[in-house]
């Protein structure tokens, strides 16, 4: 038994499990809730198995069907991939528990299979070892995400999904063109091989520009973020949570990978540009969030701002790219936990009051304390106040910015935190008050309240586990994984 656990191909299992689960849910809708939950729980265990393997033996590599690069497909996982897989599995489990009570039977029939396909696509993406496979998995992620956005069939959801899809496809095609150019230049799509062969020339620069632009569009980096707020705000709450917490992180992860392993050495100008756009995203997104009168739009604009923080690591990476990757991954995880909790809490508030107008929250503090606590705790992390994952991430970024004399970036982070406090407490302040037209509370299932709260508590606890997490994505972990990977972590 022990030997089976230690030698199993957990990477393959992590992809096949949700794929199978999705097919089961599709074929037998009657069992989709149960099958879906069991599948996601099983994925968590499989990721744990993979994690154990990586901790003991270093980075994981598996050649599917024994073909090997360049023709076959390789699966690869190091500390960074593992971290993203853990994020996806845990946040996905929390959202699944919520979704179990959220959907009516009609929507549930569609939600579960598509969500499990999305999970399979995400897992495959984090395990992809070559840039073309990343394209395919990215596209699958996008298609599943768009389908989930359109789930309710309401007109606002349909048109946001349409806009989302068009942006997604344009982004992926730009990325694919970049892949074509890189392949032409280096004769490989395998990241490790590319890393050895890549030289800055016109083709590589064109590829870099196309790939970065496409991925920035898919990650909703300002000003390419136009599609995100309507899509995230009009989707059902669990879907908004999945989109904000996980789907935008997928394209961000690809950009981070490419940057760390291929481009970081010669593209400092682009790093600066990405950082500038990130800073602009923080300011613009936060100001927009502050202006909103509805919770879901507020939370969606907050995502635009928080994505900006992720991009600040690029200009700061020059001193230590390994540390920068660690910070970025950590920030992504803490945002995933906090933002999913926030969207789920917003879903509860909508269920409770039948609307999401901030000014009419009507004593939600008394009547829905768990949900408001979830929103508040997640808010602490979003504002970057201690102790929380958001604080730790912001501290590390600030420390890096100060050490490198980047006062401009530090100032943007500080202002972003203040604006975030403004929009979070705007919601909380009204939650204490009686509305002008008091309304009756509608029942919210306990499971939905607890799912939101547990994710929010996770975002706080993350701040207290920073040292463990940095041990996970530490150079030692990937040191025996082969040259290309090692390079990432030594700056």
């Amino acid at each position: 038994m022990e030997a089976i656990l230690a030698n199993a191909d957990w990477g393959v299992i992590v992809i096949l499990l949700p794929l199978t689960g999705g097919i089961v849910c599709f074929l037998w809708p009657a069992v989709s809730k149960t099958a879906g939950l069991i599948t996601v729980a099983a994925v968590v265990l499989a990721v744990a198995g993979l994690g154990r393997q990586i901790m003991e033996h270093g980075a994981y590599r598996h050649t599917v069907g024994g073909w090997g690069a360049p023709l076959g497909i390789d699966l690869f996982a190091d500390g960074l991939s593992l971290f993203m897989l853990i994020m996806t599995a845990l946040v996905g489990l929390g959202i699944s528990c919520y979704a179990k009570s959220y959907f009516n039977p009609r929507d549930a029939v569609w939600f579960w299979p598509v969500w499990l396909f999305l999970l399979a696509a995400l897992n495959a993406l984090f395990l992809a070892a070559d840039i073309f496979n990343l394209y395919v998995t990215l596209e699958l992620t996008g298609l599943a995400a768009v389908t989930l956005t359109a789930l309710t069939g309401r007109i606002d959801a349909l048109s946001s999904a349409m806009r989302y899809l068009l942006a997604m496809l344009a982004g992926s095609l730009a990325y694919l063109l970049g892949v074509a150019l890189l392949y032409h230049d280096s004769g490989s799509v395998d990241i490790a091989t590319l890393a050895q062969r890549i030289e800055p020339n016109a083709t590589v620069w064109a590829a870099l520009g196309l790939m970065s632009a496409g991925l920035a569009l898919k990650t909703a980096l300002f000003p390419l973020s136009f599609w995100l707020p309507p899509a995230h705000a009009s989707a059902p709450a669990p879907v908004s949570a999945l989109l904000s917490a996980l789907v935008v992180k997928a394209s961000f992860y690809i950009l981070l990978r490419l940057w760390l392993e291929l481009f970081a050495d010669f593209a400092e100008g682009v790093s600066t540009l990405l950082g500038l756009l990130g800073a602009a995203a923080i300011l613009w997104g936060s100001l927009q969030a502050l202006r909103q009168t509805r919770i879901k739009l507020l939370v969606a604009y907050s995502t635009v701002a928080q994505i900006g923080y992720l991009f600040l690591v690029y200009p700061l990476a020059s001193a230590s790219s390994g540390l920068a990757a660690g910070i970025a991954a950590y920030l992504a995880f803490s945002h995933a936990l906090a933002k999913s909790a926030m969207f789920l809490a917003a879903g509860n508030l909508m269920r409770f009051g039948g609307h999401d107008r901030i000014a009419d929250l009507d004593r939600a503090v008394q009547r829905l304390p768990l949900t408001v606590s979830a929103f508040a705790l997640a808010g602490v992390s979003i504002m970057g106040l201690p102790p929380s994952g958001g604080f730790t991430g912001k501290w590390l970024l600030l420390d890096a910015a100060m050490s490198q004399g980047r006062w401009d970036l530090a100032a943007v982070m500080i202002i972003g935190g203040l604006l975030a406090a403004g929009y979070i407490f705007k919601v909380l302040g009204y939650a204490f008050m009686q509305a002008k037209e008091p309304h009756d509370a509608r029942a919210v299932p306990a499971g939905m309240e607890w799912a939101a709260l547990l994710l929010a508590v996770g975002s706080i606890l993350l701040g207290l586990m920073a040292s463990e997490i940095f041990a996970l994505i530490h150079p030692d972990l990937v040191a025996n994984a082969g040259g290309a990977v090692e390079r990432v972590w030594t700056a």
Partner: protein
Amino acid sequence: MNGSVWLPLMVVASALLPGLIIFCLPEEKVRTRTVLNLAGAFSKIILTGWMLWGVYHGDRYEMRVAFLPELDLVLRADSLSLLFIALSSLLWLLTTIYAIGYLEGSPHRSRFFGFFSLCVTSTSGVALSGNLITFLVFYELLTLVTYPLVVHRGTEAARRAGQIYLVYTISGGTLLLLGTVWLYSITGTLEFRPQGILYSLDGAHYPALAAIFALLIAGLGVKAALVPLHGWLPEAMIAPAPVSALLHAVAVVKAGAYGIVRVVYDVFGIDFAATLGVTGPLAVLAAVTILYGSLRALAQDNLKRRLAYSTVSQVSYITLGVAIAGPVATIGGVVHLVHQGLMKITLFFCAGNLAETLGIHKVHEMNGAGRRMPWTMAAFTIGAFGMIGVPPVAGFVSKWYLGLGALEAEAHWVIFVLVGSSLLNAAYFLPVLHRVWFRDPPDNWPIERDFGDKETAWALLLPPVITALLALLAGLAASAWFSPLEWVKLIAQREFYHL
């Protein structure tokens, strides 16, 4: 000794655990809630007593857990932290008793007492912080958990006051964060050490260090209500009386003042700070605050607002004593941490009693209140005399040491500040006392509640009487071994000046 590692954590947990359990309690479980509150408060006092005994005999209590890369969360009990802990645990017990009486029958008490306990938790954390990052964590936590108490009543006015409170405190926290990160990027450590952590740094860093000092003091000055960062304090008086009493007169403002003491002595080091030339401006700022707060207090008719401005003024005695930079003045400033706490909480308790029993909120409604509520008003009188600095109440001792310290440090202008401030204190307290004792009561009080032959509920009366007596005792027995003054002398000897 294993126990010594866990003691600081247990002090923090003694408030945290009851608080977390209380959140889960249904509203009607009054008895369970009371038992939990009192159990927490008593166990904190016992633990504090244990540590006081240990530290007096030279023990160290320190707990460390990894937090950020190369930065630990450190809880450490030294003589200075114990001074603050002792004050807060004693006053927590009394305020809990008071709050149980005050909030009897009002809604959302589980939420109230839950957050109340969390505030005490954060204050204990602030007191026990062994480095600046730990301090920052608990300082920000204190902001967050006091917000629900400020907006507790859920009215539009409360929401506005909460907003103002946050604008000030979150901005302050941000400045503190900025200063802390900057400091860390230069020094690579944030430990509190007796001589500070900066004296070995190169002179090229001095301008940056002066800027960091300004950032840290601005961040701390918000909670310590230094002018012009004091605007939140009068607004926060919208909260229920026990909140004003413990939090806004003791815990929150003291957290700021205590932070200033730590930054000046244990981060910068008093000698280094003086070399850097930052203590002079700080002393001037404190002096301005003292006079400005008193002047504004003169003009307030609302009793709680008058007391709030008085707090603005009085808390800056602590900063002033520290900034004068001499052993005697420091003793005067640090001991005022305790003395002001005892006196001010008495005054706020009495203000709460007037509001609860007679419906009095304004100074001009207080005519003859002494005849209706003699015990309450006697306690009020002791507190007010202490604020003015009339011997033998504790406030006199603080001012005496501050004055002596100023002479020792040849900062003669401070004497004028002290005299001027005392005159102003007298000018805004004596007319109140005159109304209370020498004017005739009105035919009807605004809203009178009947307590039979007692002047008010015992839970409301007992706490102010005890704190007034303690304030008197701290002054009368200032040189007894158990007095705050003696302990502060120990602090000055051990931590600051190694005399």
